[in-house]
Symmetry: C2
Subunit: 315 residues, 2 copies
Amino acid sequence: MAITKQDIQESHKRIKPFIHRTPVLESHSINEMCGCSVFFKCENFQKIGAFKIRGGMNASLQLPSSKLAKGLATHSSGNHAQAIALAAKLLNTRAYIVMPNNSPAVKVNAVKGYGAEITFCEPTLQAREDTMEAVISKTGAEFIHPFNDEKIIAGQATATKELLEEVEEIEAIFAPVGGGGLLSGTSLSAKFYGSNINVYAGEPEGAADAVLSFQTGKIETAPYIKTIADGLLTTLGEITIEIIRENVSDIFTVSEKEIINSMRLIYERMKIVVEPSSAVPLAALIKNAEHFRNKRVGIIISGGNVDLSNFKEWF
Amino acid sequence: MAITKQDIQESHKRIKPFIHRTPVLESHSINEMCGCSVFFKCENFQKIGAFKIRGGMNASLQLPSSKLAKGLATHSSGNHAQAIALAAKLLNTRAYIVMPNNSPAVKVNAVKGYGAEITFCEPTLQAREDTMEAVISKTGAEFIHPFNDEKIIAGQATATKELLEEVEEIEAIFAPVGGGGLLSGTSLSAKFYGSNINVYAGEPEGAADAVLSFQTGKIETAPYIKTIADGLLTTLGEITIEIIRENVSDIFTVSEKEIINSMRLIYERMKIVVEPSSAVPLAALIKNAEHFRNKRVGIIISGGNVDLSNFKEWF
């Protein structure tokens, strides 16, 4: 069942009371450096510090009250866990979050801060899924997938809808790609609310699975995993790969150095705090700047949840 | 000659075409932590990354064209240097900046980036003043003081004027204090544009001269100098001490640890990049929170020009 313009429209209306309308920022010096006009949709200023609350609220709000009453469940060490925890809090139900036992304390505390119940597991996908299943069979809570879910995708699409409501004549949009929920939503909103917008993704060389999947049409794993962009480690899902292959123009990979340089630019020139994943699209734009000369380019800044103790490794 | 409401009004009109109207941000979690409503006027998003462009433009725009043609001059290793450099660029004249030869490369490059001519000197006040005099006698450029100047103060006052235009019923405002230009302007705008607003300053314990001067009425030096808030090292001037003693309610000192904790809060909760000096007022508010329970408090975030390589020492 394809996601329609009406789905995104209704999702936006549904979640609006629960989310921030985040600002679109520009930087004169980044524009000069890129040779184009860049409009940053700043989801680092979103509730929970990342776009994930859009999809999380959208999925949760569509549950029948009998299901909602049993609680929400997910496995995630990142922003989706916080999104589900906050969604549960806002909707007066419980959140059951499975997190790997090596999750950074700062993330565990953020999830706890929203009142979620955390179950720790070994840091493997198998252990995550097994533990999740056990939690669900015990509680009856509703599992909410971080990206491979049309309601999640329609929710994430609302960031680009807002960007296009605010900035005219955007010709290209860059988003990061992990599991592909944000990228899928971005590409759908670009199609429905823009005219001839090309959508591109940035992906770390050290988690380059989506660029392969984009080429082969199958869900591929990355040749190697080594990146500071910890939000982008996931592979695509059956739903996102299809939407992305149909609606995204290209996926550009960038090195760790290019990610750090891009992050440095954002901190120094824009004076905003972003997580490494959010610096990947700008890195991709800078690397391919000659193709975007004098164009109007949107960039989705996905989030700002960063452990400050990592700064010493980056800057 | 006292600064009047009309002076600030006219200053604002004069500089508006050259400055950004910066946003006022709030943070739910900082409000909860402080037990009051805090409104941050974010001059880290201002041109040159700090409020100093307001005063710098205001003074420069009032020079007769014959004087302006000979150029602008100042000695500073900080944001005032960038302000004068940008003012000169915008007004098509030269800027002559005297900087201590131990200035960080990032600040030297920023000033150079605006096309200013830099003369280096030994890092002492005497050397700065001697070198400045030599540069001025050679060039005939107009010296623009960083804070002890009514036009500068009236320019800095416009930040609080904007804050009060945007947020109603503010009852207290916190600003940092170095030379006292921003604090003086803040207190004047609070008087002219607010009703019964108390203005407070935050000052580092390791540069605690203003708190002494505030008590004795004479320009005092700090008992010891050791602070990461490098924008707040200066002593007050003859003009600023008088305005501050008349219009400021109190000056609170804070430790280095309190500054870093406050800065960490701003980075983590607000997702914005600020320089250490900008974290001093929030540190002062947190330390004295019981006096501001349930009040509406403004904080001037003075700037965001920070050398990212310092992060490793702070976080």
